[in-house]
Symmetry: C2
Subunit: 252 residues, 2 copies
DNA sequence: TCTAAGATATCATTATATGACACTTGTGAT
DNA sequence: ATCACAAGTGTCATATAATGATATCTTAGA
């Protein structure tokens, strides 16, 4: 029955424990034993043992009355450890703080994580939806200015593979799902040195991003700014946001 | 030999896997197998299996050349799931954004986690040390204005136990380690409705906090603001920061 | 080039996780 | 208030899956 990972270096119990942790997301903020069993597809008894162990070890809080499990503060402590381990975050944060004060708009550090962009650091400056104010959110790289800015620094072959194969999802009615169109957009990014996208993840949201280049010229992260199209027209974005954004990206 | 937790509901393998995750912190940002074995106190072979499993499951990145492990982006995604699960964060963030714009200073959501305060949400507004700009950091509750503000809402008996027993650590030369003095400070907090501490975690840092009260009057979190004593004297703090801070805490 | 320290691989042994089942507790409907 | 069903908790024989000692391979430093 068991996985092809039937290697002696692979501990199934630990992997299942991680499955339980990852069962929690935007829509599943607290889960009962049976809920966990359903989502993970694991045996009822197994989930009981896994959840209990995670609880005893302080990784899950348990509501004594509803008996439902919730992520514990330990999850934030893991994030704290992550932040120290990511050298880019430490270098970017001071610049992002300056940038956000200067622009008065939300700025992010967007990192490439597989086929997706993860917002590693966020400085929300204006009331916005919750998902846009907390770090750790991931979105398809092809659909964001951050992802396009990063992809534009890739060698042609890799870029084409990415544009052809990477996952896309129509988050809004205006999300670009035509890969040829995305390819053209990325050509523009290469020419201009920055990326702008409209209404990709949220309606009336404009994303502007500049890649942070490594010593090899290749980028794995971008400085990203998100503004409302109601408050900012194209000309003002290019005049008042872009210069500072590019400066920040280049000095990180 | 094994733990007193020799319960059939306790999965040792999973617990050891978590130990490996928690081996990473401020000072250990990337670890080799032998490093992990040393920190966790686990068998070399066990660590090999645990780390390999965590790597395969995407919880640890592995540098192909140094063979050292680092926290992966998955750690941030866990934090993202945490944020959705914590009802206080969602309610606090819009208020914190307003507050930080108004004050132009760093504001935090401080939650009580055992004997410590954890900064669940942070909006850094001014360049500061790295540890103060990323969420997930924990500090002893007794040594922070946030912790004192929360403790001041506790019934007398619990408060006294906390002041007597909770852990203290002299982070700076000015950290208050005299528990009688802390008790007096908390009495002041109860009278005034807010807490101010000086030089507790960092030199020349002033912390100001107001408790966020639940329907039962008891508090589990506080709105916290951190400023430099070079730029703010006591009078200005009380006149220009406190009113807004208390307003924010009361409306969350 | 040599030498250790560290990483990877192997394997017999048995401890440890498994999952079916029974039991208990809570919840919502009648 | 009672009942019935769903959900949570506990037990146990079984064999899978974790163990840790050892051996081999790799890397970095002398």
């Amino acid at each position: 029955m068991h996985e092809i990972k039937q290697n002696t270096l692979y501990l199934g119990t630990l992997a299942k424990g991680l499955q339980v942790l990852r069962a929690f997301d935007e829509t599943h903020t607290e889960l009962s034993l049976s809920g966990l069993a359903e989502i993970t597809g694991l045996d009822k008894s197994a989930v009981q043992r896994l959840a209990n162990t995670l609880h005893v070890e302080g990784m899950l809080d348990k509501d004594p009355v509803t008996r439902r499990y919730r992520p514990s503060h330990a999850w934030l402590q893991l994030a704290y450890a992550y932040y120290w381990s990511d050298p880019l975050v430490a270098r970017a944060i001071p610049k992002l703080i300056d940038l956000s004060r200067r622009l008065g708009e939300t700025v992010n550090l967007a990192e490439l994580s597989g086929e997706r962009i993860i917002y590693a650091a966020r400085l929300p400056c204006t009331r916005t939806i919750f998902a846009a104010s907390v770090p750790g959110r991931t979105v398809p790289a092809l659909s964001t200015s951050g992802g396009q800015a990063i992809l534009a620094t890739f060698p042609a072959a890799e870029r084409e593979v990415a544009i052809r194969d990477w996952h896309l999802h129509a988050h809004t009615s205006s999300t670009t799902v035509d890969r040829a169109e995305i390819s053209r957009q990325i050509d523009d990014v290469m020419r201009l040195g920055y990326a702008i996208t409209y209404h990709q993840m949220i309606q009336s949201e404009v994303g502007i991003a500049c890649a942070i280049r490594g010593p090899d010229g290749r980028s794995r992260a971008a400085v990203h700014c998100s503004v409302s199209s109601h408050h900012w027209d194209d000309a003002r974005i290019r005049a008042e946001i872009l210069p500072w954004l590019m400066d920040a990206a280049n000095t990180i």
